[in-house]
């Protein structure tokens, strides 16, 4: 009887344990999906915060395509988020009004959309946002993909910093004045839920697509590029093509999320909302590193953990939060680079189906290091 308090959990645990792996996977995904779908009803007050969580998961997953799986660390992926956001806004307004006229009055023209117009605009805008971001990815790719290592990172950072400056100088979209997006033609809770589910669907779609993608030849190819690009090329892989496709996929999903996010906020402008390079742009990397880059679940776990900690502590730190973020980045990068999933893999390799050869692993890192030092001294 003493067990009773914990027994349901244990029972569930035993039941899960008893399932075959396929079933177990279905149960797991089912649980997360169910939690995701029911969240706006169960935790109604947190709808917005959880919607942002899905966006964060999408960020981390898409960053990992290049950063983790392909070894190309981009500092500028956030550019596609902003491009998606702006393309969506232009489509939404442009379908029924003159964009230049609308923005020239700094939003003084108040648009009234019928529900039909609104939803057509939104749907077309989101699709256009994703595809447009993808097109830009191809263009940027031509510029930056010849660059390797740190030059690639700096080049992409340059692109991400240049984009808002250019859009800010573009009067057609209101320049730095930004755009107020059309108002949702329904109740507030309905609106929250619509955008919540869009975020949820996009995050799940990204996850599912990447899970499939990594299991194909494509996954192996981009891993090969990460491990040794010269050799991969020597083996006859069209590395440029893989890099381009990988980046376009990331850009597509980022574009979708940007399109939705812009509408969720309701007011967009280039520097702070559409291209937040030092916030979202850095968050996506930190989340990915925290969770463990180069794994499928790492970014998801990293994003969940990061966003939760951030939601709970961030708003109460009145100015110090940025110092904390900087320290977190340094600590993660310098001391904990393998991330949570990477650490788990090291600590409990058998969980991941990795068999450990006792004879080899008996020679620990320390021994290897000692031997290296000896041989160096011998020189």
């Amino acid at each position: 009887m003493a067990e009773r308090g914990a027994s349901p959990l244990i029972a569930v645990g035993r039941w899960v344990h008893g399932l075959d792996p396929n079933m177990r996977r279905i149960v797991l995904y089912g649980c997360i999906l169910a939690a995701g779908i029911s969240a706006p009803f169960v935790f109604e007050a947190y709808t917005f915060a959880i919607a942002v969580l899905w966006v964060m998961i999408l960020f981390a997953l898409t960053w990992d395509i290049l950063g983790g799986q392909m070894g190309y660390n981009s500092l500028g992926n956030i550019a596609f988020f902003g491009i998606g956001m702006y393309i969506c806004a232009i489509v939404q307004i442009g379908l029924y009004y003159d964009v230049a006229l609308y923005t020239a009055h700094d939003g003084a023209v108040n648009i009234h959309y019928t529900p039909e117009q609104y939803f057509t605009g939104l749907a077309l805008g989101i699709v256009a946002g994703g595809l447009g971001a993808m097109a830009f990815a191809v263009v940027f790719g031509l510029i930056v993909f010849g660059l390797r290592g740190p030059y690639f990172a700096i080049g992409t950072l340059g692109v991400a910093l240049a984009a808002p400056e250019l859009i800010g100088a573009w009067d057609y979209v209101g320049g730095g004045g930004g755009i107020s997006l059309p108002n949702y033609p329904g109740g507030p809770d309905e609106r929250s839920r619509l955008f919540y589910y869009l975020c949820l669907i996009f995050a799940f779609a990204t996850f599912g697509f990447l899970k499939w993608l990594y299991s194909t030849r494509f996954g192996l190819a981009i891993n090969a590029i990460r491990d040794d690009e010269e050799k991969a090329e020597g083996m006859g892989l069209h590395t440029m093509r893989y890099k381009m496709i990988g980046w376009s996929i990331a850009a597509f999903f980022l574009g979708l999320s940007g399109a939705v996010f812009g509408n969720m906020i309701g007011f967009i402008e280039p520097l702070e909302v559409a291209f937040p390079t030092v916030t979202f742009g850095i968050f996506m990397i930190v989340m990915c590193l925290m969770g463990g880059k180069g794994t499928l679940w790492g970014p998801v776990i990293g994003a969940t953990l990061f966003h939760t900690i951030k939601e709970v502590t961030w708003a109460h730190m009145l100015g110090w939060q940025w110092v904390a973020l900087g320290v977190l980045i340094i600590v993660t990068v310098v001391f904990f680079q393998q991330g949570i999933v990477g650490w788990l893999k090291n600590a409990f390799p058998e969980w991941y189906g990795i068999t450990v050869d006792e004879a080899v692993s008996a020679e620990s890192d320390a021994d290897i290091a000692a031997r290296l030092t000896r041989s160096e001294a011998a020189e």
Partner: protein, 413 residues
């Protein structure tokens, strides 16, 4: 591929549990004998100078009202309290935090953030949930063309900032026997919602007088230099130079105008007081024209703080380091006073009743008269133009409020 799937749900569950415990709703709209008003304001980031001015203003208002016995609703006395978040000077964060204030913290009464961009983001949220917000720091006139019903602003809107300096330039031209349409104007505006809105207002006024625009530059938000623009100004000899770029723009402009020895006869700059340019650049800022929402020398009085001069004295005593009280602080205090009277008039905490009660506001304060029109902006208070004369801010326009004649032409230092 066996064990680790078991690990994931545990992790996710654990995280969810932590999240739920830690983020439990903190406080409701009225707790015991305290009314909680929510606001997200810039404590960090590029607007934090003014964000802190504004929060000082809010706090002083709350302190004063609580000292005078608080707010009486339904025969019961309540104290006021403000729950703050830091919006990091970005509208992205503002939108998230206002959602949080309304949905998670269940706050039903709001004070606005600092700057037009963040107010635009906040208004989208408050309108959506039909929660009234009194704002004191978002002047963009496009806030009041959207048909918002729950937004009330105590300040004058952006097109009025530099309007009187243009009128002044026209007046001087006429006095000197020139036609106002001969006046050449140079403009340098920051590329952000507030300044662009000021610019839109300025262009309307310039067109009214048929003046010529010779320089029309937009300054990027993180620009540390505007000498390229000023060199242009130097070559083209305008009669009037207009600059708007929050505190940062004012300080950069003051420095480089001095260094490049720009001798335009009239120079108008927004946010002079908040940027403390007199302290920093001394005599070289003499004869700058500075539009202000409020000045301590104006003859306004109200029942909470007495006259404008009394407020000025009290504020300086309360907060160290102010030589001039920036209007950003004064209007923030006024917003708190508006809430107080609205609560008492509505005699209820119902948001609809409060909205109607706010709409009926018609009060006299140290900050000026406050009366909202249909769109929620204050139409009972003018903006005044001050000139820095020997380190002092003296009101020179409009004529009704002027205490000193304008110095013209400005002498380059």
């Amino acid at each position: 591929m066996t064990m680790w799937h078991r690990m994931i749900p545990k992790l996710v569950l654990g995280i969810a549990a932590i999240a739920l415990v830690a983020a439990a709703p903190a406080g409701a709209k009225v707790e015991g004998d305290t009314i909680i008003i929510g606001s997200a304001i810039s404590f960090s980031g590029k607007y934090s100078t003014n964000g802190i001015h504004a929060s000082n203003g809010y706090n002083l208002g709350v302190k004063r009202i609580n000292e005078m016995g608080g707010v009486t609703v339904g025969g019961k006395q309540y104290k006021l309290e403000i729950k703050y978040y830091d919006d990091e000077s970005t509208p992205l964060r503002t939108a998230q935090l206002f959602e949080r204030l309304i949905k998670q913290d269940k706050i039903k009464f709001l004070l606005g953030p600092y700057s037009s961009a963040t107010t635009k983001a906040a208004a989208k949220i408050t309108e959506k949930y039909k929660i009234p917000m009194v704002e004191a720091e978002g002047a963009s006139r496009s806030l009041f063309t959207q048909g918002y019903k729950y937004l009330f602003a105590v300040l004058s809107t952006s097109e009025q900032y530099l309007a009187s300096s243009i009128a002044l330039a026209a007046e001087i031209a006429k006095k000197n026997g020139r036609d106002p349409s001969d006046v050449k104007v140079a403009m340098a505006f920051e590329n952000d919602p507030f300044s662009l809105d000021v610019r839109a207002g300025v262009i309307d006024d310039i067109n009214k007088f048929n003046m010529k625009i010779v320089v029309d530059d937009k300054l990027p938000r993180d620009l540390s230099d505007m000498s390229a623009t000023l060199i242009k100004v130097k070559a083209l000899n305008p009669d009037l130079l207009l600059i708007s770029g929050h505190s940062k723009g004012a300080a950069t402009a003051a420095r480089q105008i001095k260094e490049l020895q720009i001798d335009v006869p009239l120079i108008a700059v927004t946010h002079c007081e908040a940027a403390k340019i007199v302290d920093k650049f001394g005599a070289s800022t003499n004869d700058f024209l500075c539009p202000t929402q409020w000045a301590e020398t104006l003859s306004y009085t109200g029942k909470y703080f007495g006259s404008a001069a009394d407020f000025d004295k009290l504020f300086k005593a309360e907060y160290e380091g102010y030589k001039n009280v920036p209007y950003q602080a004064a209007q923030a205090t006024a917003a708190v006073l508006v809430w107080k009277e609205a609560f008492e008039r509505a005699n209820s905490f119902d948001t609809e009743k409060l909205r109607d009660s706010l709409a009926e506001t018609n009060m006299q304060t140290f900050y000026g008269n406050i009366k909202f029109d249909q769109t929620g902006k204050n139409i009972a208070k003018p903006m005044v133009l001050r000139q820095i004369q020997d380190g002092k801010f003296n009101v020179v326009a409009p004529t009704k409020w002027a205490s000193h004649p304008v110095n013209w032409p400005r002498k380059a230092q």
